[in-house]
Symmetry: C2
Subunit: 159 residues, 2 copies
């Protein structure tokens, strides 16, 4: 039986494993540098600002979601941003992904969020088809820009 529940500290090892499995699927395993301590701190530390849900089938964790709250200056309200969503390949097609999204939508509504957002790789057609089927809309006119590592340090020190 499918069940969605908030993650606990006992789930941290599994969550990091799910993060790695998702990164492998996204062809970015080499970019995963997170440790269990970092995930623990982000979810359960004194200034934690992320949350996580676990999808279980018959008591066994088969997927997860990790989220935080962003803010829309246009709406004047927070939004729920879904950073990671993953369901193990052998457990797909049983509604775990939809149940996770539905539980996140409920958290967003309960917390007075104006939006529920996430990002998807443009070649991930199964995910895109799934999101479209739920009524989500692509914000294709927006491009994310990023600076990190040495470029970020350089910008911080520019005169």
């Amino acid at each position: 039986m499918l069940n969605i529940r908030p993650a606990t500290t006992d789930d941290v090892t599994k969550i990091l494993w799910f993060i790695r499995q998702l990164a492998i699927y996204e062809k970015a395993e080499h970019e995963v540098h997170a440790s269990e301590d970092q995930i623990h701190s982000a979810l359960f530390g004194h200034d934690a600002h992320c949350g996580s849900l676990i999808a279980e089938v018959d008591g066994e964790a088969v997927g997860f979601a990790l989220y935080f709250f962003n803010f829309s200056t246009w709406l004047g309200k927070p939004g729920l941003y879904l950073e990671d969503l993953f369901v193990m390949p052998e457990s797909r097609g049983q509604g775990a992904g939809k149940a996770l999204l539905k539980a996140l939508a409920k958290i967003a509504v309960d917390r007075g969020c104006g939006r529920f957002e996430w990002s998807v790789l443009d070649w991930n057609t199964p995910a895109i088809d799934f999101y479209q089927s739920l009524g989500a809309e692509p914000q294709s006119e927006w491009i994310i820009y990023r600076t990190h590592g040495e470029a970020l340090n350089r910008l911080a020190k520019t005169d």
Copy 2:
């Protein structure tokens, strides 16, 4: 003289005015529903999770930035996300935008962030050229998906 400083509660009216000016430039003025109370609460309320910087020239506010912290599961670290950046047209070309980005990069480095990110409309060529000149990289393979309003309520209530 150009100066960057943290916003105070006295800046809220001006910040909402800047938000509206930016939305007009982005052809989305009709999407601005935020109130002064909401901006005040997001920046200075008891569970505030946003920050704002003001750019001043000779003591007069000419631009602003509004940001919050997101989280990278790959890095295991928070990131700084710049939601809005705006400099009044008549004050552009004097370094206010770059000074705001540099101050944000410094906040990101000081807070141990792994990334500094923002989004830009794909037709906003002056902004894109500016960001590229600072070494920021487009994450063009990522598409943002969003659900809001009735679609969000529907998803929260789906069986």
